[in-house]
């Protein structure tokens, strides 16, 4: 099941290749045709996010047939590792925003295909997350709140903390955050705590009123229903659409005192059954056309001249809203076990019960 919507391409998909592409790039194209054009991606990315990307990719390379499995963030790697161990690994590419999992996966030998995308030089240096892994998108994590219940619009975690402390009883259990026992929650929370010098001052105040949830979707739904007044560390992939759908009842803001930005890594597996198509896809996603499609799908693209319009979000926009200094980009490195344990217990000790 490829997810190519029938709608005509909204982005103009230029034919041919930019000049900075190697001269023999057409060999890859021919190889892809020879492979049959099939491509299997293990990802933790939503079908809706994929739709425009796959649509435009097919417009450019009509023989391709992409299927993107939607798995859990860690499962992407566990399944890949398990399948590699059994010698039958059907996945060509991995796409995930699970930083810890990516890092631990990347540490293992022979888990990624060596490839240097011709697009790398056209992108900011933070586009390359790890060797052989690029950012497909850079998605911010923010605060969502219920405008009917929250009197004072928060602009930062510290600001939200202040509001909460002012009426501790009223906000008791009315704030939600992400469960740090889960991988995503840990990554974001840990990055925030590390990336902002006085992060714990605000956290110490806000955590006792907060309840953890295991998905952004749940957080959003409960903010909407009024069970929570506000939530922090909410994925923009959920936050932006919620703002749009709720008719103003929910608002999504990027905290000025630390907006965590999470790279969504994309890489090719070492024994990919369709390596050429995978390379085409990687280059496409990083290209201007690809990044426009990424934005259209609801993720935040980061290439310079991506068009910013209603419903599209870019990293540049984040920089503008949160301030250049307010951005915390999550490094693709392993956090040692001991630190994980220490952080989780410290965090959970602060959480209200």
């Amino acid at each position: 099941g490829s997810t190519n919507a029938d709608k005509p391409a909204a982005n103009a998909v230029p034919e041919g290749f930019p000049s900075y592409y190697p001269a023999d790039y057409s060999k890859i194209v021919d190889a892809s045709k020879a492979e049959g054009g099939k491509l299997t991606i293990y990802s933790n990315t939503d079908q809706e996010n994929w739709a425009p990307i796959l649509r435009d990719f097919k417009a450019k390379y009509p023989w391709t047939q992409v299927s993107a499995d939607n798995l859990d963030s860690d499962e992407v790697f566990q399944r890949q590792l398990s399948e590699m161990a059994t010698g039958k690994a059907p996945a060509d590419m991995l796409v995930s925003n699970a930083v810890q999992a990516w890092a631990s996966y990347g540490e293992k030998s022979d888990t990624l295909m060596e490839y240097d995308s011709p697009e790398t030089k056209q992108l900011p240096d933070y586009a390359q997350l790890m060797p052989n892994v690029w950012a497909m998108s850079l998605d911010p994590v923010g605060i969502a709140y219920n405008t009917a219940l929250m009197k004072e619009a928060p602009t930062s975690i510290a600001g939200l903390a202040k509001t909460v402390t002012a009426d501790a009883a009223g906000y008791k259990n009315k704030i939600t955050t992400r469960d740090v026992k889960g991988a995503w929650g840990f990554t974001v929370s840990h990055a925030f705590a590390e990336g902002s010098s006085d992060a714990w001052t605000g956290l110490d105040e806000i955590l006792p009123s907060a309840r953890p949830e295991s998905s952004s979707g749940t957080q959003k739904e409960k903010i909407l229903s009024g069970e929570y007044v506000a939530g922090f560390f909410i994925s923009s992939a959920v936050g932006y659409p919620a703002e749009k759908a709720s008719g103003g009842l929910v608002k999504f803001v990027l905290p000025t005192d630390g907006t965590v930005v999470l790279g969504r890594g994309i890489g090719i597996t070492p024994k990919a059954p369709h390596p050429a198509t995978a390379k085409l896809f990687l280059d496409f996603v990083l290209s201007e056309t690809g990044q426009n499609a990424v934005a259209e799908g609801g993720l935040s693209s980061y290439r310079d001249n991506v068009e910013l319009s209603e419903g599209r979000h870019t990293y540049q926009e984040v920089e503008k809203l949160a301030g250049k200094d307010g951005i915390i980009r999550v490094p693709y490195t392993m956090v040692p076990d001991a630190e994980v344990t220490a952080f989780v217990s410290k965090w959970n000790a602060q959480l209200g019960s």
Binding site: R79, A85, G247
Partner: protein, 587 residues
């Protein structure tokens, strides 16, 4: 010799020569009945044990199965038990499981007694409606309940406005147990109702003649007589609540209450660094508990026969008249149906037609079809619906056939391992879905030719099928036990061998039970998703996994839309199957 008139027939009886007895071919002295019996036994053993073996192996390995060079060690178990929170997890699990079981019985027993044994206004309708919650997966029921009774649910808001406070807390072990109990009560209800229908009505008449009024009869005679189905359904509900994931996950996360299944989930799929060793060890423990409960169940079932006294001619049950109390009873049942299942379902259906659903805004302002649109614009989502239907239909057929054969071998054959067949068929009762998924993943990966199955619908059918097997077995077994042994014996003496007796005689007689099992398995497989988490690929998603995806993305409206579609499909299937059953209930 007392016979005087010796006009003894010189010819043979009925004036004919004796027909020779049929001869059946044997392979190395083994007849085909034996071959079928061994076949079923081996198939079941492979089917059930296959996913267990990798997990057992993992539980003693110091690293994930996919990493080479591991050592065998018991350290996973020691780590599990020394894990700081594990004691609390066990305690929570015990409270949750026991609470669920007790509540389930508190709902199911009175309802069964009221519906089957008393004159109740709209008794038949109420009895049918009692079973609704079974058709909805607990995931959906949980969503529905949060929408209504969560801290900011529609009803909670009304109640808080009226009372000034909320007298309940859904996010607690109690709340989980109540929700789960509402979902599982239909099972216990069906068990008790069937037993009540069969039991000897003259026991009640005897009490009346002795001077007992209706209430005394209920408490002194009817309810105590229900002990066997009560024990049986308690054990079933208990092991199901050990395994259930949705409700503990939905309710437990915000307040950090962890039970066994969520512990497995967070440490397995969600964890920062998944610890497969601990996962294996924990699964092994849950398996051990399951096998323990199945053993208890087998024992209780065996003794149960002594308890039930169905003797002599069938007596027509006389319904007890509760007088005015019958209205109280009817209202109680209506409350259960309306607040337990009907409102959550209606809420869900309504939710599927709105953009946002919150007590804070008038939902009629945001009526929309876009939730359905989203589901139907993405072929993968549409495919997950057709997949679910295919899986449930094919799976229900295969599982029901296997279960039927297993019941025949277990209960109707001289097979040496008949008892083992029964155990094998019942063990998967509480194997957590995730574990089944992971186990089969490894089975397909390691088994020669498994690659053909891996990632296909067949893999999902196999995994779901395993989980549904005990249900199918449990629903066919009583029907087989009801058919007198002498019917097969008569076939045997007439010249049919063991397999022939089944094929020529029992097959037709068991059709209603088979269709019943078909419905149950279909419904179960339609609701199932956890075993697919590890096994499905983009092409083989099921409604449940799609719902989970959509939920994680915050597309709650589309989740509701899918749930509505799922309920509709189930309802249609059940209705059609029931029609079919009616057509065949003759003879």
């Amino acid at each position: 010799m007392t016979i005087t008139r010796t006009k003894r027939a010189t010819s043979h009886p009925v004036g004919r020569s004796t027909l020779p007895a049929p001869k059946y071919p044997r392979v190395f002295g083994v007849d085909r009945g034996r071959i079928v019996q061994y076949g079923v036994f081996i198939l079941l053993a492979l089917f059930v044990l296959a996913p267990i073996v990798p997990i057992l192996y993992q539980s003693f390995r110091d690293r994930p199965l996919y990493e080479a060079g591991g050592l065998l060690t018991p350290s996973n178990y020691t780590r599990l038990f020394t894990d700081a929170g594990f004691g609390q997890v066990i305690l929570n699990t015990a409270i949750f499981a026991v609470g669920t079981t007790v509540l389930t019985l508190l709902i199911a027993i009175p309802m069964a007694v009221l519906v089957v044994r008393t004159k109740l206004p709209f008794g038949r309708l109420l009895g049918l409606s009692m079973q609704w919650p079974f058709f909805i997966s607990t995931l959906i029921l949980g969503f529905g309940w949060i929408t209504l009774y969560g801290p900011a649910g529609f009803i909670s808001v009304q109640v808080r406005q009226f009372l000034g406070f909320l007298p309940w807390n859904l996010y607690s072990l109690g709340g989980m147990a109540v929700t789960e109990a509402v979902g599982l009560a239909p099972i216990a209800y069906v068990f008790c109702a069937n037993a009540l229908r069969q039991s000897d009505a003259s026991l009640e008449s005897a009490a009346r003649v002795c001077g007992a009024g209706p209430l005394r009869i209920l408490f002194k005679v009817v309810v105590p007589m229900l002990r066997p189905p009560i024990v049986y359904s308690s054990i079933l509900v208990f092991s199901m609540s050990l395994e259930t994931l949705s409700v503990p996950l939905l309710y437990g996360t915000p307040v950090r209450i962890e039970v066994f299944s969520t512990f497995l989930y967070t440490n397995g799929l969600q964890s920062i660094q998944p610890d497969y060793g601990i996962l294996g060890a924990a699964s092994t423990i849950i398996l051990a508990v399951t096998i323990g409960t199945v053993a208890i169940q087998a024992k209780v079932l065996k003794n149960a026969r002594r308890f039930i006294s169905v003797r002599g001619k069938a007596t027509r049950p006389r319904l007890l008249d509760l007088g005015k109390f019958k209205w109280v009873a009817a209202v109680a049942i209506v409350i259960y149906i309306v607040f337990g299942a009907l409102l959550p379902i209606l809420g869900l259906v309504f939710r599927s037609f709105t953009m946002i659903f919150t007590p804070l805004a008038n939902p009629f302002d945001s009526l929309t079809l876009s939730n359905y649109e989203r589901v139907f614009t993405f072929p993968v989502y549409v495919q997950s619906i057709t997949n679910s239907v295919i899986i449930a239909a094919v799976g229900a057929t295969l599982v029901s056939i296997l279960a039927l054969l297993a019941v025949l071998v277990a209960r109707r054959s001289p097979f040496r391992f008949a008892r083992s067949v029964e155990y094998l068929a019942l063990i998967p009762q509480a194997m957590p879905g995730i574990i089944v998924g992971i186990g089969f993943f490894w089975v397909f990966a390691l088994m020669p030719g498994g690659g053909l199955v891996q990632g296909t619908l067949m893999a999902v059918i196999i995994a779901f099928g395993l989980r549904a097997l005990p249900t199918a077995f449990g629903s066919i077994a009583p029907a087989v036990m009801q058919i007198g042994h002498e019917l097969d014996d008569a076939a045997r003496t007439s010249g049919a061998d063991w397999f022939g007796a089944f094929f020529r005689i029992l097959r037709t007689l068991l059709k209603p039970a088979f269709v019943g099992a078909l419905i149950l398995v279909f419904v179960t497989m339609m609701k199932e998703y956890s075993a697919a988490l590890f096994l499905s690929s983009a092409n083989t998603g099921v409604i449940g996994t799609t719902m989970l995806d959509l939920w994680v993305q915050g597309n709650t409206g589309s989740v509701a839309a899918l749930a509505t579609i799922q309920i509709a499909i189930t309802a249609v299937f059940v209705a059609v199957a029931n029609l079919f059953m009616k057509g065949h209930s003759d003879a």
